[in-house]
Symmetry: C2
Amino acid sequence: MKLIKNGVDYPKGFLVSSTNCGLLKDRDDISLIYSKVPAECACVFTQNQVKAAPIIWDSEITSDFSKKQAIIVNVKSANACTGELGYDNARLTSELVSNGLGLKPNEVLVCSTGVIGLQLNMDKIEKGVEVLVKDIKDDISDGIKSSGAILTTDTKNKVVSTEIEISGKKVRIGAMAKGSGMIRPNMATMLAFTTTDCKIKQSVLQEALNKITLDTFNMISVDGDMSTNDTAIVLANGLADNVEIDSLDSEAGKLFYEALYKIEESLAKQIIGDGEGASKVITTEVYGALNKDDARKLARNVVESNLVKTAIFGGDANWGRIVSALGSADAVFDPERALIKINGIPIFENGQPLESNQEKLDKIFEDNDIVIKAECNLGNSNATAWGCDLSYEYVKINGEYRS
Amino acid sequence: MKLIKNGVDYPKGFLVSSTNCGLLKDRDDISLIYSKVPAECACVFTQNQVKAAPIIWDSEITSDFSKKQAIIVNVKSANACTGELGYDNARLTSELVSNGLGLKPNEVLVCSTGVIGLQLNMDKIEKGVEVLVKDIKDDISDGIKSSGAILTTDTKNKVVSTEIEISGKKVRIGAMAKGSGMIRPNMATMLAFTTTDCKIKQSVLQEALNKITLDTFNMISVDGDMSTNDTAIVLANGLADNVEIDSLDSEAGKLFYEALYKIEESLAKQIIGDGEGASKVITTEVYGALNKDDARKLARNVVESNLVKTAIFGGDANWGRIVSALGSADAVFDPERALIKINGIPIFENGQPLESNQEKLDKIFEDNDIVIKAECNLGNSNATAWGCDLSYEYVKINGEYRS
């Protein structure tokens, strides 16, 4: 299965357009994803108890598992901590789109990212929607350009796509994301949009997204903080005309799951690779944990440890900090049984460091990818977490700027 | 109740001495606390599953709640991840002291702090113990000087003492601590030693220390990481000759508890004030949480948020990051009900920012103490957590140096 750099308009029947409506000075700041036919919709939202208005709106209109046909995305304001007016503006945004495209408001999802506590400028949003609706009606679409319009402090567009064959039909998946680089003056937001022309039951699509999120989006950490706006949405419009997937256990179900997994995993890695101020990507692979939950906690604890993150930034393969981060996780860990490697070099075994290998470690920091493998020898569960180092640049970006 | 800057030799019958035995170049690196009579002993150790050899030794000899008479403390090596040899060296260290002072080995606690994975240099330790034992026999004691001998990268001595009256007798408490500034190349360690001449049942002393630790040492965070060596020990030798305290509910019990609480709270605050690279102390007071556990989790989540820490470092009273940190805690929080103040200035209410107060906030950063008050309006439980900002200096100290 090959991954290619196409956007959300890669699958059959999907269009995406973006424009500048004046929210930002010099780049596109609003974009619209559209499916020519109603699409099954699966989504996951932030677990933060402080939820932005669009999260509340989207949760409401998806609670009946109904089909969706469009997603409108704006930057600049996260529309979080904005009270009733904020909620009304989220609803109004979806109405502007649904009126323009002849849809029902509950068929249009709304996503916002940017400053917390700042109300949406609805005049500008309205102008933007007009342009985008016209583009869509004119069949104008640009998946790469639009993937730039959802970014905030990200430095790179994040798109990925693939094609598989199910029951003799070509099935395509396309995706774009906005990263978790911290944005001034408030939270990062992770937005991930995935489209597919696969024919699949909504409940099965949701089951797939839930499972995949646990091992992809929930396993990346730039700084352990959780946004008020995090959202991952998958739209499936069925235009590939494959035999409908009604179970993940079926041949076709497994095939689609694997493809969707690779897509979301790619987005997750692209997000981490673009983490603010990050100079290195830290991958922690935990093997042989007591259970899956323990494996995830152990892996996350390493990539979220400030001591590990600063050591890696400083080019220090600090086994002591790694072992201690594993030992302090809310999961079973026994240093006497553990074998720890950094980029293939064993550094810790039988509760003690393998000093002989310390010199070899210096070379690994010529590489920007640091892979920590922890073999727990306690059970059969594995998990991988992705993080990045903690640099001066991170402190600068998040410390120097003022609200 | 007045707090004064005396060390662990302030209470009746306690001596403490320190010397340089060559573990470090130019300052005292080993110290010995001694009680002229056997003392009741209460202690708490790190929850990290990677435990240093002295932690294992101390846990063993305190498991029978027997009385103790000495504590030997070394810096330079944490004697963690050092295998059987490390354990034997911890035991041997206590034997050197017990032989010198005519005690049983299980009457001597051992504490180490420094580099993980480095074996103790027993020749130097032996020389050091000889000097310290002679000092003790010669009645030589210096609580302030010794408080400097247990430090690592700390910049200040940390001592505190007080005196209360119980059943007509003067009861004294003295204490010293080593902070949680990160040490090269590995973990921070918090060591807290408290002595008192109070007459109190061991089970009651342990109950007091356990309760107090939850609201003091467990509520401070420099960077959320947990050491392999964290230890808090209280010795009570009874020489004040007060009526023995057999319950914390008694008049005397309450009085002693309050005094011990103030002592440990003072050590906790001194540790945070000396956090590595810290330029500001962040205090988070949570009021009206659903229960005590929630209150503690909410308060800790704020002082452990890298986004909050960098914002404070940058002089940014970033209410959005504070609210989001509260919302992402594993505890009930409702932004619609919360009232949040920074240094007395209301900044968030009814789910929205109080923009009008934003200018006033600029001034508060002239102060080095930032106090965040979060009134949850959910219940009656309160908690306070102490942390420090995340500075370039922190990244430098923990990133630039090599193992």
